[in-house]
Subunit: 358 residues, 2 copies
């Protein structure tokens, strides 16, 4: 049987501790060269959806032999570029039937090659981002870190906090994001979920002042955390290149990045109205950072480089680019749990295999 799973199932099946355990093991494998990831690629073309939109076919893959799986993650996107405020923002449109997005993970067995499962990427997408930054905290933040200031209250912010709370005994969180309504709703929801006070504040500086861990979990195209706000012993965490001002990165005693892959392979068709995000001012500044000079999270987890060496050091983890590899590692857990709990739609594996030699 090849399992078809929905986001609802993925959410139910994949707990944060499971996801952290799987990715931690997978990163160790990667550091030792036994697990591998293929750089993301984006094919961008015009679309008949609308004149100002583009079509994007994106893929990334990775294999974790120790977990017995390989995975490919595919996105098939319609993206528009509306002017919001005074900058163009990329907005992904749910253009597929019933107003839906298209993102898929296909999971394969490294033992016999068979397609084990097919599931949407949405829930896993943010789980793996959260998990990766959670591992950054586990290996870099002070053991006795108890407080977090988070910038952002969107989709990613939730898993950022959940992951942090899974690796440290967090007692309280302050949150700033520009929209009052959003941040208050987020804080109420997270207070209930994490069973610790998550408090909205009206200034970014207030959120990140006097805390042990600063988490940037935003959708910003510009820096939102600045050098002048750094305090001794802090751990800084970011999910997107431009979030932390380059001077703040340079001021940290230890900086670790997710990967040395620097950017996706980009293939753009003539006529595609494509504006490279990396040409935005915030990305421009971030791109002056040489991410390759910093060690990677897998190297840190494997002990190839030192983590924090005392309580005064400022540490910084930059989740600079995602990897198909994360989908393989977390996918192995989803599949295992789905089999244990006997859930999902089982389709005949023969539908996705063949007798013809390809």
């Amino acid at each position: 049987m090849t399992l078809i799973l929905s986001n609802d199932y993925v959410e139910r099946l994949l707990t944060m501790p499971d996801c952290i355990e799987a990715l931690e093991l997978a990163y160790l494998e990667m550091a030792e060269g036994r697990g591998i990831s293929r750089q993301r690629s984006d094919c961008i073309t015009p679309t008949t959806y609308s004149e100002d939109a583009i079509y994007g076919l994106k893929s990334m893959d990775g294999v974790v032999p120790k977990l017995g799986v390989g995975a490919i993650r595919i996105n098939s996107d319609i993206v528009t570029n509306p002017l919001i405020g005074n900058t163009h923002r990329r907005v992904k449109i749910p253009a597929a039937p019933n107003d839906r997005y298209v993102g898929l993970v296909l999971l394969f067995s490294t033992h016999n090659g068979e397609p084990l499962a097919i599931f949407p990427d949405g829930v896993l997408q943010r789980m793996r981002v959260g998990t990766t930054n959670g591992l950054g905290i586990k290996y870099m933040a002070r053991e006795n870190a108890r407080t977090i200031g988070i910038l952002g209250s969107g989709w990613q912010a939730e898993t950022q906090l959940t992951a942090a709370c899974a690796v440290r005994q967090i007692e309280s969180v302050k949150c700033f994001s520009p929209n009052q309504e959003n941040r208050e709703a987020f804080c109420a929801r997270m207070t209930a979920l994490l069973k610790i006070p998550v408090t909205p504040v009206t200034q970014a500086e207030e959120a990140v002042g006097g805390v042990d861990i600063v988490m940037c979990g935003s959708n910003s195209l510009d820096a939102i955390y600045f050098h002048k706000w750094i305090e001794p012993g802090m751990h800084l965490s970011s999910i997107k290149k431009p979030e932390i001002e380059p001077d703040a990165i340079r001021a940290a005693h230890k900086v670790v990045v997710h990967t040395h892959d620097t950017a996706p392979i980009l293939v753009i068709a003539k006529g595609a109205n494509f504006k490279e995000q990396t040409k935005d001012p915030g990305w421009n500044a971030a791109n002056k950072i040489d991410f390759k000079k910093y060690p990677t999270l897998p190297q840190l987890i494997a002990g190839h480089v030192p983590g924090r060496e005392n309580d005064q050091e400022v540490t910084c983890f930059l989740n600079n680019l995602g990897l198909g590899y994360q989908f393989a590692a977390a996918g192995s857990v989803i599949y295992k749990r789905a089999k244990e709990q006997n859930v999902g739609i089982g389709l005949p594996t023969d539908w996705f295999t063949e007798t013809v030699h390809p």
Copy 2:
């Protein structure tokens, strides 16, 4: 509905003339920069299948906006390396349940991103190879070419001949391959299929002597066609880098290659018992050819470079590497015909899409 199609359906739905028409249009789009392809990538790791085997997760993708589709082709392979004669051969093992191979094409709409169809790659794999070499013949062989000598009688040879007969009024074919039984069975089958005499011969030189078109359609790791055999006005066609001796390529007046992509992106895990095919003697010789200095089939089809200029010229088409793009172009025909004929298993598209922003 997202359509699940079997190889049987693909074979029935996709005719050679349709496939040629779709690829011809797609190559034109590619030459003009409006259609794009992403270089193949191979992730190679050890497998628990057996000690001498490797696992390979391979993917390639491409988008043809004019045909309204993008496609990704994925292979999830168990490969062994047995010693056959005195060379190691790669043998793909049908290790998935019910002794099956794993190769899939996922077809997406560039209009709204939706997953249109999922089908195995095996039948299409050789159809697109045949079609591409057929287009080489259409644009390079003499208009009055009537005879073919083919080297090889395997899986690929069949579609090579079918494609050639779709673009020229071929009247007879001679075939050599090392195994008498295979070549005789092949000739009997092709005689019935093409309704022209396809005759087995006992020497390679005999097969390719005095013919208008030489087709190499083998699985050889060494050269099988040699410089000394060239005759004026011939068209030489090859599906694999080592088949035509480099000196024969150099002697041709016009040489065209399929693509300037030279090799897949290769990511190899530690411990994978992987022997690069390109290090074999035959490939080594072929790799001395600078494929990038020759124009590509898309450039030829678009008229950016001249084809044959007189009946005395020797022309040569080298199908040096496959493209995900071919699966998109041919896939659009398969999908269109399946809809027209109302065949395949229709699954709810919602199973492969999501409400969650990925």
